[in-house]
């Protein structure tokens, strides 16, 4: 579409002008922000002992604002479902076969990556890390396996796979529902179980995120297994 007609040129120029105006206004807004910033830092650090974990971002994601995280896991699931019902994944046949070296490398790398996934997941309660980074790493392992050994990947459409795909949000929802049933506001963890519940939810979410991202990379729904 390399139409060089004047109409298109004018519309491009107008777009650029409008965007520039938006940019200038935004910059003006940024410059006039008050010097003394307000935030929730102190409130978060005050409540850390009650959160069940030691890392602030993890505490916010899985305790203070856990409801956001629940919905976000559903967003990921819905994106997968969108791809899933659009059609079966097709791996293009023309891809070159990987060399022996790469295959050997992947055989070594994938278990290491899975170990590191577990480590990052566990690290999340203390320092930088958590379910999403760990899930991304797991997906990395899955993608490597997919690229190298496309036939052997145990991704077949089965009830087990589907359970894994909903495990993260489903465990989250079950915890929330159970808490509602015992008359707590949804997702208010009992203090002494907070740490374990968070770890449980994170572990399930890591699995779900990893497999979901691998499937999205592969283009959707795997073929049916027997």
């Amino acid at each position: 579409m390399t139409k060089s007609d004047p109409v298109r040129l004018i519309s491009v120029v107008l777009t650029l002008l409008a965007v520039a105006v938006i940019g200038l206004l935004l910059a003006w807004a940024v410059f006039t922000l008050p010097e003394q910033a307000v935030g929730l830092s102190s409130m978060v650090s005050d409540r850390m002992p009650e959160s069940g974990v030691n890392a602030e971002v993890t505490a916010i994601l899985l305790n203070f604002r856990s409801y956001d995280t629940l919905l976000e896991l559903v967003v990921l699931l819905v994106a997968l479902l969108g791809a899933w019902y659009l059609g079966k994944m097709h791996l293009s046949p023309e891809d070159t076969k990987p060399g022996l070296v790469l295959e050997g490398l992947v055989r070594f790398l994938v278990p290491v990556m899975i170990l590191v996934t577990g480590y990052i997941l566990w690290l999340g309660s203390h320092a930088a890390g958590g379910a999403f980074q760990a899930g991304a790493l797991l997906a990395g392992a899955g993608v490597l396996m997919l690229v190298v050994s496309r036939e052997k990947l145990p991704l077949r459409d089965s009830i087990q796979l589907r359970i894994l795909l909903v495990a993260g949000p489903a465990v989250f929802t079950l915890v929330a529902g159970a808490l509602v049933l015992v008359d707590k506001p949804m997702l208010q963890y009992p203090r002494q179980y907070a740490g374990s519940l968070i770890l449980l939810i994170e572990a399930a979410s890591t699995l779900t995120i990893g497999i979901t991202l691998t499937l999205l990379f592969a283009g959707g729904r795997p073929h049916r297994g027997d």
């Binding site: 971002v57 293009s92 890390g129 980074q133 991304a136 990395g140 991202l213």
Partner: protein, 92 residues
């Protein structure tokens, strides 16, 4: 903030803008995608500079890594589909 810090932040920011521009302009699709992946990497670096290492890790893994992998996979699929269809002229 030392002058070196300023220089670093200044260069980092301007490089990010340049990569952002390259990601959405030009005629070579693959270089758009690679620029975007580079932008994600530098973004992670910028967040380390802003003392937010944990989100920097996530950006490197998700924003740059996973998104990049998805983009490249889709790019491959588009290319091979185009070759297999053959008859359609390329509008690029």
């Amino acid at each position: 903030m030392t002058p070196f810090d300023w220089l670093f932040d200044g260069l980092l920011g301007i490089t990010m803008l340049w990569l952002g521009l390259r990601a959405v302009s030009g005629t070579v699709l693959l270089s758009n995608i690679l620029s975007f992946i580079g932008l994600g990497m530098l973004m992670a670096l910028a967040w380390v500079r802003l003392s937010a290492p944990d989100v920097a890790l996530a950006e490197a893994a998700l924003g740059s890594g996973v998104t990049g992998a998805l983009l490249l996979a889709a790019f491959n699929r588009l290319q091979s589909d185009k070759h297999s269809q053959g008859k359609h002229h390329d509008k690029e």
